[in-house]
């Protein structure tokens, strides 16, 4: 057995152990910490599967922002203790058996995957040249499945509208109730002053590199969101009220520009979301730049939650 196979085996083992820990742990704080670490190791698994783009997304979302989201909820709910009794032993046993069966069925599917795997890689590679991009995943996202990508951004916006709609009537238009540090903390303020310039550079680099190498608007946007949240947690900046004009503008600018470029496809190319052959790459980069900003703002506000207090 060579070392790389041994590494993969160990990685898979640790991953499953962490997942089991996160599911079975008694305290929710432990469970959340384990979930965060789980996201981190999952990113390494994606690297091992040669999917660096996915690894970047998983690090940013699974390890970072999702964890922060759940953490925010957990600290709000800390005051209340659960009242419902756990399911009885027979019910748990039955559920366990069912889940083992599901796992075995999926395992059989994996085992029975065709000997010669079907693949779209050659076609994707062939058509990549026409987009002017160098990253095949970005090519698929912005050319072959452009409609998906557009709708995915719309889903993000819709989720934000849904989250906001949970506000109480009197708080509508106010400021989200992101939990911030209780009192100003000089060390944290220092971190919140030093890290964002680095993070913003990395975010822009991710988006820019995304055209030719792994990366892209989403990964870049997530870093921007994380940096903004850091600044807000350190209380260097207030959380903006949700009816602020610039917030609304930043939220829609990405999808709007992408949609506009898509509509121009009717005029200058042959269909919706088609790019004129010579200008494909600049158009995609413009759309991605706007999307990076919008994604950053949307993600940060999703984490911040529904508005809770009115502006003074």
């Amino acid at each position: 057995m060579t070392y790389d196979v041994l590494f993969d085996l160990g990685l898979a083992g640790v991953l499953i152990a962490i997942a089991a820990g996160a599911i079975f742990a008694r305290g929710s704080f432990v469970s959340l910490v384990l979930f965060m670490v789980y996201g981190l190791l999952l990113a390494i698994v994606w690297v091992r599967l040669s999917a660096v783009d996915v690894a970047l997304t998983e690090t940013a979302i699974g390890g970072g922002v999702t964890g922060m989201l759940l953490l925010g909820a957990a600290s709000r709910l800390r005051a209340t203790k659960g009242s419902a009794a756990k399911a009885g032993f027979p019910a748990r046993l039955a559920a366990g058996a069912l889940c083992i069966l599901v796992s075995i069925a999926l395992g059989i599917v994996v085992y029975a995957l065709p000997e010669v795997p079907p693949t779209l890689a050659p076609i994707a590679k062939e058509n990549l040249a026409s987009s002017g991009l160098g990253n095949p995943v970005a090519g698929v996202l912005f050319v072959y499945r452009a409609l998906d990508t557009l709708l995915e951004k719309v889903v993000l916006l819709l989720a934000l509208v849904g989250v906001w709609s949970l506000a109480q009537d009197q708080a509508w238009g106010g400021m989200p109730g992101l939990r911030v540090y209780a009192k100003p903390n000089s060390i944290l303020v220092f971190l919140a002053q030093v890290l964002p310039p680095v993070g913003i550079t990395v975010g822009i680099y991710m988006f820019w590199a995304g055209a030719n190498r792994p990366g892209g608007a989403f990964q870049g946007g997530t870093v921007l969101a994380a940096m903004w949240l850091l600044v807000m947690m350190a209380r260097l900046r207030e959380v903006p009220a949700i009816d602020t004009l610039w917030v609304r503008q930043l939220l829609v600018v990405g999808p709007a520009i992408f949609l506009l470029i898509g509509l121009l496809g009717f005029v200058f190319a042959d269909s919706f979301l088609a790019y004129p052959p010579d200008h494909a790459k600049p158009l995609i980069v413009i759309a991605e730049a706007a999307l990076t900003l919008s994604i950053g703002v949307t993600l940060a506000l999703l984490v911040a939650g529904p508005p809770e207090r009115l502006r003074q």
Binding site: N185, I187, L188, F190, L191, V194, L195, V198
Partner: protein, 97 residues
Amino acid sequence: MKFAIDIVTVVMVSSGVVFFMAGTVGLLRFPDTLTRLHALTKVDNLGLGLIVFGLLPQAQGLLGALKLLSIWVLVQLSGAIVSQLIAQATQRSGRQT
């Protein structure tokens, strides 16, 4: 030449890994939060540092080497600050077991 460079890598990375081990053992065996924090800083500074320096000769071009170094500097910086925050949190709670 290639051989000499590889030797450097092997020695540096091995010593970095040893610091990782020391840090982990400290994290598990030391009696309270602050001493565990002390053990952890060795991992951030020396463990990762030695691994980064060991990998420098293997880096592809100047840009790759610069990126390696900047990752280490970033971990240094944020590790130091987060350590401070952890220590503060420990003092605040007044419970160091």
